[in-house]
Amino acid sequence: MASSTGKSFLGRFGVHIAVLIFVAIWTIPTLGILVSSLRDKNQLAVTGWWTALVTSSQNDDGRLGTAADQVEKDGKFLIMGNLLKAGDNRTISAFGIKSQAPTEFAAGAVADLGDGVTLQVNDDGFYVQSSPVAFEGDRGRRIYFASSMPPRFTTDNYQTVLFSEGIGRSFINSLTVTIPATIIPILIAAFAAYALAWMRFPGRALLIATIIGLLVVPLQMSLIPLLKLYNGVGLFFGVPAKTYLGIWLAHTGFGLPFAIYLLRSYIAGLPREIMESARIDGASDFEIFIKIVLPLSFPVLASFAIFQFLWVWNDLLVAMVFLGSGSDQLVLTGKLNALLGSRGGNWEILTTSAFVTILVPLAVFFSLQRYFVRGLLAGSVKGG
């Protein structure tokens, strides 16, 4: 393209800025869950995800040791310990004994708790509670402190998700569903699209109209009649109703109108002289399709492949209905879904699995993107 020469610096810079803005807008929400997936579960609902990127100060509570932990020293009873867990590189700036005033005392100061009981909390979390009389009760005292915490991330969530039992199996199941459910509709649709674009037969226009009409059929409406049909067929032939074949065909069926629609519009736009030339060269429609149309349609085949892959990969409903949910059929989305609690509050799992599932489609996108070549048709014909 001509842009290589002759773009002023400003113009080029402007493009970069514009793209950067778009990318930022598109990425921020996703970045949000990426950060969230790396965060500690408890903090998710308390502070904004962006705060995880900087050192934050927050109020916390902790519980002192119980009477069982006390030691007697110099006539005083001491309970000692550390409010922070080992490896927790927080520093305490202040502490308090009432939740209404959590930062009443500076770190290191000695707080008077009344009745001669004192408490000292150091910035490293070490505390000493001393009392002239012995402590009682089996509940430790709750105290409060403000701590500052450097950004901290955990891969726990990923470990939970990636090493959950049967995940590998369901990954394979997903691929087993997805790959044929992507390729089969492409094949079928490409043939049909070619016929609809370049072959003459009665009813062609009607067929095109029908296909556009079928684009809108809501998936949910089809499920019950189809499953009934599957069950009927299964019963009749004495085979299981829920099979891989069944789900491939189902996904093929649901993806087909869009596939034909998209491919047809592209294939119809190929230069007619090329087909004519091939026809004169003696190629049959089958050969023209295989040798000319398919290679030249790669960009659109790749786009459709990406979408179909995505839909199938991310689908749960169709898989559950037509494949079932036993562990030998459970697809990845189903598996990850099962990791969520019944009430769906496990955002750390949700965010993490969102990222785990995104990877394969992104890889597909990347690998197919190189088929979006510029100037595929260059040099074939001259004219307008």
Partner: protein, 370 residues
């Protein structure tokens, strides 16, 4: 055997009639060249013969069989498209090998034929390139190569040399002629704008205009005895000079008076009732010579000179004629812009056409043919 017979072949795009009933007999082994102004329907006619356009009327027969509905691949043709129509995703080699591969021919045979064609067309260096990395002329040669590796009954060429340089054009033209010679049974139909190509290659030239055939004949026939004004002006470059004239005396020879000069005797028979009618008087630029004696046909002022080396074109303003007359004179003739020039011509090279543009010599031609 591949006789082609077109019987009032018609082609229309929607309401737009492009071909208005073409009648043409092409004998097996003939080399036919279609010429005609841009947009007259040459490509369309070629495409109907190929079967790429459906005929909207008439019949097309190949080897005696009606092929109106026969698909292109069964007509035994090869075609070079005006717009090349290369397969963009295939290398030059694959482009040329495609038809043979489709025909499931032997690999070594394919290779041999492709390399041979590439050699002829000087494409050997480019065999592994994709069309988009070729120059215009190279693409055109690939398109030709694609046709010649096949072994069809009928070759269709649509301006196959238009993007080639002179040397290559001559070489390729000769290759096509040789190809034709080596396949005496193969019919070739060739569209060109190049007079030289038409003249040298054709057994017969078909002159088309606005979707109609104006004249069919051998190159010399068309050149020497154009059937009408259009053909007279179309064949030959620069075109024949035409001046309004009046018949002074009918019979054989005819005496006409033209606007540019005095009465001239033309050795063509005219019917008696033509006396006094307005006619067109024609003479080719190359038939005009500088008058050395006192006798001359035209006298005029040199308007403009195009010096082409071995020859020069003199544009001469003659009397009240609006268009300047063109004369093709030897390159070394000493003429000057603004100077007065007297021209003469051999009476046998003069033409007269009636008010409808038809040549008076036609009848004679017809008589001779019968």
């Amino acid at each position: 055997m591949a006789d082609l017979t077109l019987t009032s072949v018609k082609k229309a795009y929607g309401n737009l009639n492009i071909l208005h009933g073409i009648d043409l007999d092409i004998k097996s082994g003939e080399f036919i060249v279609f010429v005609g102004p841009s947009g007259c329907g040459k490509s369309t006619l070629l495409r109907t013969i190929a079967g790429l356009e459906e005929i909207t009327g008439g019949t097309l027969e190949i080897a005696g069989e009606k092929v109106n509905d026969v698909p292109p691949s069964k007509r035994g043709i090869a075609m070079v498209f005006q717009s090349y129509a290369l397969y963009p995703h295939m290398t030059v080699y694959d482009n040329m090998a495609f038809s043979m591969r489709i025909g499931r021919e032997n690999k070594t045979e394919i290779d041999r034929r492709v390399r041979q064609a590439a050699e002829i067309l000087q494409l050997t260096k480019y065999l592994e390139r994709l069309p988009k990395a070729l120059s215009g002329g190279q693409r055109q040669r690939v398109a030709i190569g694609r046709a010649i590796v096949r072994n069809p009954k009928v070759f269709l060429f649509d301006e196959p040399l238009s993007n080639l340089d002179a040397a290559l054009r001559v070489a390729t033209r000769i290759e096509i002629a040789k190809l034709k010679e080596s396949m005496p049974e193969t019919t070739m139909i060739y569209v060109t704008h190049d007079q030289v190509e038409a003249m040298t290659l054709a057994n017969r030239i078909v002159v088309l205009k606005d979707g109609r055939i104006e004249q069919v004949g051998s190159p010399m026939e068309l050149y020497r005895h154009p059937g009408n004004l259009f053909v007279a002006q179309f064949i030959g470059s620069p075109a024949m000079n035409i001046l309004p004239a009046t018949i002074e005396k009918t019979g054989q020879p005819t005496i006409v008076s033209h606007v540019g000069g005095h009465n001239v005797s033309v050795p063509v028979a005219t019917p008696a009732d033509a006396a006094g009618t307005k006619v067109s008087f024609g003479v080719r630029p190359e038939d005009l010579n500088i008058a050395t004696g006192k006798d001359f046909l035209f006298e005029g002022v040199v308007d403009y000179i195009e010096q082409l080396g071995e020859v020069q074109m003199a544009y001469i303003q003659v009397g009240r004629v609006t268009e300047p007359l063109v004369a093709k004179l030897p390159g070394n003739a000493e003429i000057q812009r603004g100077g007065v020039l007297r021209l003469t011509a051999d009476p046998g090279d003069l033409h007269i056409f009636d008010a409808d543009g038809r040549s008076f010599a036609r009848d004679r031609l017809a008589a001779k043919a019968a």
